[in-house]
């Protein structure tokens, strides 16, 4: 009997502590900032990894879900509700305790939503958007999700760039910290740095635990089966479209959660987070990690993101990830990937059927 292997998760926990200690011993605690950010991006990447590796679908719009999470969290916790203070719904929400009263930088009184409410709204919105995209598209066999999410990503990017509410090209700044738990505030404040590092990595470990559980479960078995032969899977009573949809929504939620938390951590978000380059980067990181290997995806995802955040790739940053994607497809399109990317690419380029 095969028992589920949780050892690598424990290993990841050990790595977390080791990384912290290493920065302490070498006096490089400033690395913790990028390590924290890498963990949040890692969450996006493992979520996308399950979608690509196990549901056999590609999303080229995951930066869009990340951005929906981040932007809504930012806007709802910074945009002043004072002008609407007399509206019944604001008063109702105020009574429910989900509105914060404070002062803006000019000392004027300000009302905003609590980060918790913003977080719930942001993540739910991302999940619902994924549902709306996924329901019609995932009924079709083939790689139509790639095209739909490509369109979605572009639209989201344009919306955030165009709307004054979302700060146009400046994005949103001055996003407050998120008092998530009594002892934990998600914020970039120096005094919270170590705790935030542990929080982000713990979240990554828990996110990974959920995915490993899922893959090893009845539903995971169904996913793996339809990846290999959809016909035989459906003949066994498996509703392929429904499982693909659920995985897609789950991966969108992972991306949105990462978006919310990273935005509070950074104290802001800009339109580049919603860009196509970011979406392509996520796909590249999953591809290079090997799609059927969630651990490879996680290691590559967190590792390369860390290097990128440290500025190792300089101004070629986006180009590096594009190149990685091309190289992976050229040299091991099926070997590492377990997913036929070439027909998809052909489909995207010439519009033919895969």
């Amino acid at each position: 009997m095969k028992t589920r292997n949780y050892l690598p998760l424990i290993g990841l926990g050990v790595l977390m502590v080791a990384l912290h200690l290493l920065t302490v011993w070498t006096g490089t605690q400033y690395y913790l900032t990028q390590l924290t950010m890498s963990a949040y991006y890692g969450l996006v990447i493992i979520g996308l990894g399950v979608l690509m590796g196990y549901a056999g679908q590609i999303s080229i719009g995951h930066a869009g879900f990340f951005a929906i999470g981040g932007y809504l969290a930012a806007a709802l916790t910074t945009r002043n509700l004072e002008p609407f203070a007399q509206n019944w719904w604001v008063q109702l929400l105020d009574k429910a305790g989900v509105i914060v009263h404070g002062q803006d930088i000019y000392g004027l009184s300000q009302m905003t939503f609590t980060p918790w409410l913003a977080c719930i709204v942001a993540v739910t919105t991302a999940g619902l958007v994924a549902l709306v995209i996924g329901i019609p598209v995932l009924k079709l066999k083939g790689h139509y999700l790639a095209m739909a999410t490509l369109g979605f990503g572009t639209i989201v990017y344009r919306i955030f760039l165009a709307m004054p509410y979302f700060g146009e090209s400046d994005g949103i700044t001055e996003v407050p910290g998120f008092d998530m738990l009594p002892f934990l505030t998600i914020s970039g404040d120096m005094s919270h740095r170590v705790l935030n590092f542990y929080a982000s990595w713990t979240l990554l470990i828990v996110g990974m635990l959920f995915l490993i559980n899922l893959i090893g479960s009845r539903v995971g078995r169904a996913l793996r089966s339809l990846h290999s032969s959809e016909e035989a899977a459906e003949a066994s009573g498996i509703n392929a479209g429904r499982f693909k949809l659920k995985v897609f929504v789950l991966s969108a939620i992972y991306a949105a959660v990462a978006g919310v938390l990273l935005t509070h951590y950074n104290g802001g978000i800009g339109p580049s987070e919603a860009s196509m380059a970011k979406s392509v980067r996520y796909v590249a990181l999953v591809a290079v990690g090997g799609m059927l290997n969630l651990w490879g995806t996680l290691i590559m995802g967190v590792g390369l993101t860390f290097l990128s955040l440290r500025g190792v790739f300089g101004s070629f940053d986006d180009a590096v990830f594009g190149t990685i994607l091309i190289l992976v497809m050229l040299f091991s399109p099926e070997g590492i990937l377990g997913l036929k990317l070439r027909p998809l690419l052909r489909q995207l380029i010439i519009g033919g059927r895969a």
């Binding site: 090893g216 793996r224 089966s225 290999s228 032969s229 016909e231 035989a232 066994s236 009573g237 392929a240």
Partner: protein
């Protein structure tokens, strides 16, 4: 002869005036027949007669062009393959379709899908209820591998098994669904005479479990031995429907089979 569970006069599957056209090709032409509950019915005919196409229509993989199919008294029109499967119809494939990267046991466990229920979130959280169910799925799948005589291969990667063993895994996966009706597409193709005899014994055993069998097979001695009734298809049309003894005497059937032999 009489099955244990249901009276023999009930109809498990009924095709009435079924047509299937692929563009200009009339692959299935006005085919009607019934499969009585608890029986073994065979579907024979030369290559390209439309047997597999008929299976694909019955299992909901293809929509019919005309006519109707009733399973357990219910029309399957508009039903998805997985819905029909859940109603209690299982099948094996002529060109074996096992799952890559899965052990033989796991393949059979997939077959238990519609007889188990642990959902997405229960799976993610690995709730204790899922452990219990998983154990039951595993135990039942193991029993089926044992029934098919390949329990010792449970942990071997399914697609790396020998041909006959792969067919056995497919059969176990289909049985795992606890079907009322099982569609077997050439279960003895590529098997030697000993394995074929084993398959014949197995199909009879399946029927004795109360499962109705619809069988496509080229091996005539197998078909004649175990079937209650035979439908002969030729170029998409039904040529004859009778008992094995009568089919063997049927002039037209002899002609198409002899005719086929001559051209070979």
């Amino acid at each position: 002869m009489s099955p244990k569970t249901s009276p023999a006069n009930e109809t498990m599957l009924e095709l009435s005036g079924v047509h299937k056209r692929f563009g200009g090709l009339h692959a299935v032409n006005d085919v009607s027949f019934k499969v009585p509950t608890g029986s073994i019915k065979a579907l024979i005919g030369p290559n390209g007669a439309g047997k597999t196409t008929l299976f694909n229509l019955i299992a909901g993989n293809l929509p019919v062009s005309e006519g109707s199919i009733h399973f357990c008294g219910q029309s399957i029109e508009g039903q998805k393959t997985y819905e029909i499967a859940r109603m209690g119809m299982a099948r094996t494939f002529q060109n074996i379709k096992l799952f890559h990267g899965m052990s033989a046991l796991e393949c059979v466990m997939v077959g238990r899908h519609s007889r188990s229920r642990s959902g997405f979130f229960a799976g993610m959280l690995s709730l204790p209820t899922t452990w219990k169910e998983e154990k039951a799925i595993r135990a039942r799948s193991m029993e089926l591998l044992d029934l098919l005589g390949i329990a010792d291969l449970a942990d071997t990667e399914a697609t790396s098994l020998a041909f006959g063993q792969q067919r056995a895994v497919e059969m176990a996966r289909a049985l795992a669904l606890e079907p009322k009706l099982i569609l077997l597409d050439e279960p003895a193709a590529g098997l030697n005479i000993y394995e074929t005899a084993e398959v014949a014994r197995l199909i009879s055993a399946i029927r004795d479990m109360g499962i109705t069998v619809l069988l496509v097979e080229h091996d005539m001695s197998l078909v004649m031995d175990i079937s209650d009734e035979i439908v002969v298809l030729s170029f998409g049309s039904k040529l004859a429907e009778d008992t094995p003894a009568n089919i063997q005497q049927n002039e037209e059937v002899i002609k198409i089979y002899l005719g086929e032999d001559e051209t070979v």
